[in-house]
């Protein structure tokens, strides 16, 4: 199924390059394809406001729908990791719908699919930092870089190190552990 589509696209290249407008949509397509490697960035204002007040607004593709459902239970939100994160009914319903629609298993983004695969045989964790894929990616980091680092404090603080986390980009080019020149030394 994939090959003929690819050939078709290749054959279409010179044609596309012919018109400026088409060229624009082609680069946009490439751009989108490139972005699909990461997670879908947060694009719901209510979610960004309500779930980004105390910490980085985590892109929904970082957890499975089942994990989000447990986190976003009205009673659970009253004691959300020791914090009160209660929401009004309408606000909560909007956030639930948004997050589940974009949860890891409902996302086509590459990293979201890796998350889904990595939690397949376990009870879906409530913490992103407990997802095996995320744990594996950070196992080299020391306490000095995370917990004892005054500008980080916790691995949950994604955007302390991932400078493009707001765009849901987590690749190695955009990582900078504060106070550490070379994190991999």
């Amino acid at each position: 199924m994939k090959k003929p589509l690819f050939t078709l696209v290749l054959a279409g290249l010179p044609l596309l390059a012919g018109s400026a407008m088409a060229e624009e949509s082609f680069s946009q397509w490439l751009f989108t394809l490139d972005r699909m490697k990461e997670f879908r960035p947060v694009d719901n204002e209510t979610y960004a406001e309500e779930c980004g007040a105390c910490h980085f607004a985590y892109p929904p593709g970082l957890l499975l729908a089942m994990s989000w459902q447990k986190l976003l239970d009205p009673v659970a939100l009253e004691d959300h990791f020791g914090e009160n994160a209660e929401l009004g009914e309408d606000t909560l319903a909007e956030i639930q719908a948004y997050v589940i629609e974009n949860s890891a298993e409902n996302s086509y983004y590459k990293r979201a699919r890796k998350i889904t695969r990595s939690v397949q045989s376990i009870e879906p964790p409530l913490r992103i930092t407990q997802v095996p894929y995320i744990k594996r990616k950070h196992h080299e980091l020391t306490a000095a870089m995370v917990r004892d680092n005054p500008e980080v404090g916790s691995l949950s603080n994604c955007n302390a190190c991932h400078t493009q986390a707001e765009q849901a980009v987590f690749d190695d080019d955009s990582v900078q552990v504060p106070n550490f020149q070379h994190w991999d030394e």
Binding site: H55, F56, E83, N84, A85, S154, S156, N157
Partner: protein, 118 residues
């Protein structure tokens, strides 16, 4: 027409001046509440300043997540305290977390007048 506007201006000025002088004791009460320390569930000491800091013109930092919180001083962050729903929501959450109970209407009024005066 002009006379009327003049009278209106003077009246407004008077109202503003009296509001100012009335606000000060309330705002001072608010400041006291703001820095009041309470023993938390884990034997830790908690106050509004735990996350918002003592200097309201500076950004605070969420004690657990380390996320920066924009300055609370109205003069520095003009968008503050404009949305009554938002204000009510955070009073509920933060009073419960910090003091282990909801704030009374009087406490909220005093704190708000302090925060707005900064």
């Amino acid at each position: 027409m002009h006379q009327y506007s003049l009278v209106l201006l003077v009246l407004l000025g008077l109202a503003a001046a009296s509001a100012q002088s009335e606000q000060t004791p309330t705002a001072e009460q608010g400041r006291q509440l703001w820095i009041k320390e309470v023993l938390g569930a884990k034997g830790d000491s908690r106050a509004c300043t735990t996350c918002h800091g003592t200097d309201l013109t500076q950004a605070g930092e969420h004690q657990r997540t380390h996320k920066l919180i924009e300055p609370m001083a109205k003069s520095v962050t003009p968008s503050r305290y404009e949305d009554p729903k938002k204000v009510a929501k955070w009073f509920r959450r933060n009073c419960k977390w910090t003091w282990g109970r909801e704030c009374t209407a009087e406490e909220k009024r005093a704190i708000l007048s302090y925060l707005k005066s900064q």
